[in-house]
Subunit: 284 residues, 2 copies
């Protein structure tokens, strides 16, 4: 059995962070292009410096960061070691870390991903991990159970911010609702059932598109809303689309447009604070 690390569910911790600093999550996307823009090498040393700057800039200013795992995996195991260090240092600095890994598999493989991203003592363990539901949300039960046990979260991609996903996500299940609406209902059911703490399961819902019909106020978990900035969503879109959700449950995520204010930590910090303030004001 793993140690229960905290008494609060993931959603409770996020809500406290949102109350303190606003509903903004900073995406940590050290792409080759951005490393070059910041005057850093497209290598492991560049990754490390990029992450140091981000922790310096965001700790104390924002509550939540979202490293995009692909940009670390791109450098192989040495890049993943930098991600481990980022997760550790960000946690020590008081930041909640969502590993944007979009993992997902079945049976013992799903349990292995749970161990990797949500297990106590795992070097990659974050506060939450994003997952792909193509194999069915129920197949991800090992991840949800371990997250619940450890006060962590599983955030399910449901309505992505890109247009290429519409046909699949809007397809109609035999029961009637669309794929994404069925998933949202399943997420709400997990958060109500009592087998894991309410707020263990969240959803990725792009801020770039109009909402589906599912009443998000009943989701019971964190909504991670990517797409702010480069992908086209404005703060007003976030307020418009998610204004009726539970206070503290929305995390709008900005990556490229926010990081374009680097590499100076003071400029990054100022831009993050201003965007978080704008979102807080708009969302009441």
């Amino acid at each position: 059995m793993r140690e229960h690390e905290t008494g609060d569910s993931f959603a409770v911790r996020v809500a406290a962070a949102v109350r303190a600093t606003g509903p903004l999550c900073a995406g940590i996307d050290p792409s080759g292009e951005l490393l070059r823009d910041w005057g850093l090498g497209d290598d492991v040393a560049g990754l490390r410096e990029f992450c140091h700057i981000c922790v310096d800039a965001f700790a104390g200013t924002l509550g939540v960061i979202k490293p995009q795992v692909a940009f670390f995996e791109r450098h192989g195991s040495a890049g993943m070691a930098e991600l481990e260090q980022l997760i550790r240092e960000a946690g020590q600095a008081g930041l909640i870390v969502i590993a944007d890994a979009k993992r997902g598999d079945i049976d013992s493989t799903a349990a292995a991903y749970a161990d990797a991203w949500l297990g106590s003592g795992s070097p990659l363990a974050a506060d939450a991990v994003t997952v792909h539901p193509y194999l069915g949300l129920a197949a991800l039960a090992p991840m949800i159970h371990l997250a619940g046990h450890n006060g962590k979260g599983v955030i399910v991609v449901t309505r992505s911010s890109n247009l290429e996903g519409r046909a699949l996500q809007e397809a109609l299940t035999a029961q009637g609702p669309s794929v994404e609406e069925s998933l949202l209902a399943e997420i709400a059911a997990w958060n109500k059932a009592g087998t894991v703490p309410s707020g263990t399961v969240g959803a990725v819902i792009g801020a770039t598109l109009p909402r589906s019909a599912f009443p998000l106020s009943q989701l019971g978990g964190v909504i991670l809303a990517p797409g702010l900035g480069t992908q086209g969503a404005r703060p007003a879109d976030v307020a418009d689309r998610f204004g009726d959700c539970s206070p503290g449950s929305i995390l709008a995520s900005s990556s490229r447009s926010l990081l374009a204010n680097g590499p100076d930590p003071a400029s990054l910090r100022k831009a993050a604070a201003a965007l978080a303030h704008e979102l807080s004001t708009l969302m009441g």
Copy 2:
């Protein structure tokens, strides 16, 4: 621009391997349970020994292996370093390596996953990688293009071997066909269009379930069929479900039930050869 590593497409290389040794792919699944069953530590040293035994047993006996990335990621960056070594050693031993990573994202993030798993010079680069299509197959274009350029493959999960995926995968798109059939048609279109070599894009189709209506003989890519053994599919099921597909395009995958013959390499080799022979005979 990256160097084009081979003149043959991924599907052509797989077909040659199937002709030589049969339509069996060995899953490399070093779960904690299996490491213990083999008398190895559930740690990085155990992973390394497990992989050495597998390469020793399968090289020359089978053409293709499929390491399940989750079981390496579970050990963090140090586990991923063992995966890099497995990919390198297996390649040197003449094995085709399919990284069962089930990755998938959009835009520059999809490009980063492409760099990681399909890029020339990347320490994790395999011959092919499995992907999740929840964000839409078109969003994975950066992975497909890089795979095609480098003579590698992208294998799309379409009809998974588990029951929890049925509702989503059988949901009906607005155009009429189900999610999985739409994906199969998109895969066939990629393999015909000429923008990447035919055979660059394949599909994961579980051997545990009856086939969908899509004519798989028109897919134009490799079909990876998991589920043989522990998950319930028998060799006769594979022959029955995929017998009309292009010769050499089917790779039935067995993990736990095959690996249960370890840790003795001779026993593993014998079991793999027998199963490959049985599949070859049944599939004509």
